[in-house]
Amino acid sequence: MSIWEYANPKRFMQTSSWVLPWVTGLAAMALVTGLTWGFFLTPDDYRQGSTVKIIYIHVPAAMMAINCWAMMLVTSLVWLIRRHHVSVLAAKAAAPIGMTMTLIALFTGAIWGQPMWGTWWAWDPRLTSFLILFLFYLGYIALWEAVEDPDTAADLTSVLCLVGSVFALLSRYAVLFWNQGLHQGASLSLDREEHVADVFAYPLWLTIAGFVLFFVALVLFRTRTEIRARRLRALEARERMA
């Protein structure tokens, strides 16, 4: 059986209806243990004090913000090439999640920045590219909202996602170039990955897994809603014609 079978809406609804509870349960377990472990059972960092606990939200959210866009890119391509509606609806369902993740990374980063760098916001390359990512999400969602006809909207947003991805990469590079050697504050804390001690790393991996599962569960859930909305639309139209 080919993977494309799942692009059939009926098939998707059936499969997702029994996958969904499992993914949700796993996500909840991973998140609860990971966050509890991280929040209650890890020591404070000698330099950052208790603020290090923010890492268990900040890093997974930042990762998911990027991965979500990557997933939207793939599903948009699938729509453009193979015209599977479920695929593009999944992209539509994912966008608000990605935007929320971006916001979480931005907010936790900003809150963390206040004690660490003495400012809520600095035009550090990583921060800046996240802000730009946020704009991409905003534009993508606004375009979905603005176009009335669903297939037209699907095509347009998919093209936007493609072109946007190229420009998002370009922006990332441009921002690195722009702020090279101007800002020192960031290097202090952001490049510590190698130094993240095991005590912090285990719960971190667990929360990352939890965020991934949470993302999958919510995308499935929201895609189901989108599919139902499309069926509702089709039925209403049919009623009008009859």
Binding site: N8, D149, A237
Partner: protein, 208 residues
């Protein structure tokens, strides 16, 4: 010249006309009628290639066609002659004087399009057809706002187009004054039935 086979057209994912078969030989004209909202405009746009067909095929003359819709595509700040010259150039032509004369707007040639009355604008829109030199015309309610004299001018233009081996497919609610030169097709019988599964239209037929 135009061959339409088993065509089905849709708006907003809902199929509205179905099973349309048309043939236009050189010299033939066909007028589409039918109540408001039956899908005349949608059908013409589909044949013109402005929207994809839900099912079926459309065969066009190799050199393309000339389409005229509800709006005339005029630039308000350009004069009549400038508007027309532009369209002539786009279609690789250059003489506009015969078209101006045929539609009796030579006297208005230097007037900006925004200063024309509704009917004068429409006549300019029809003159545009004449400069395209395409053999197949697709016209959507061409005589809206025209007075009786202009309707006659228009009928004359269509007749000579047909005589020169052209063909025309038109949608209209009112008599175009073409008499026997045109046959009429009522679209009402082609209204789409409730969609049968797997026949295009809605997204996987809303998964039945």
């Amino acid at each position: 010249m135009l061959k339409v086979r088993d065509l089905g057209v849709s708006r907003g994912g809902i199929s509205i006309l179905d099973g349309i078969n048309l043939m236009l030989a050189p010299g033939a004209a066909l007028v589409l009628t039918g109540p408001n909202g039956i899908g005349k405009t949608t059908l013409l746009r589909t044949i013109a290639g402005l929207q994809p067909a839900a099912v079926g095929t459309v065969e066009l003359p190799p050199e393309g066609l000339a389409y005229a819709g509800h709006t005339d595509g005029l630039k308000a700040t350009l004069t009549v002659a400038e508007n027309l010259t532009f369209w002539a150039r786009v279609f690789g032509q250059d003489r506009i004087a015969p078209a101006l004369d045929a539609m009796d707007i030579a006297a208005l040639a230097d007037r900006p399009a925004q200063n024309l009355s509704a009917g004068q604008k429409r006549r300019l829109g029809l003159a545009r057809l004449l400069v395209t030199r395409r053999r197949l015309w697709l016209l959507d309610e061409p005589t809206v706002s025209l007075d009786t004299a202009s309707v006659r001018l228009f009928a004359g233009a269509v007749r000579s187009h047909l005589a020169a081996g052209g063909a025309a497919l038109m949608a209209s609610h009112i008599d175009l004054g073409l008499g026997d030169a045109a046959t009429t097709l009522d679209l009402a019988p082609y209204r789409a039935k409730l969609p049968v599964p797997g026949q295009g239209g809605g997204f996987d037929e809303a998964f039945e």
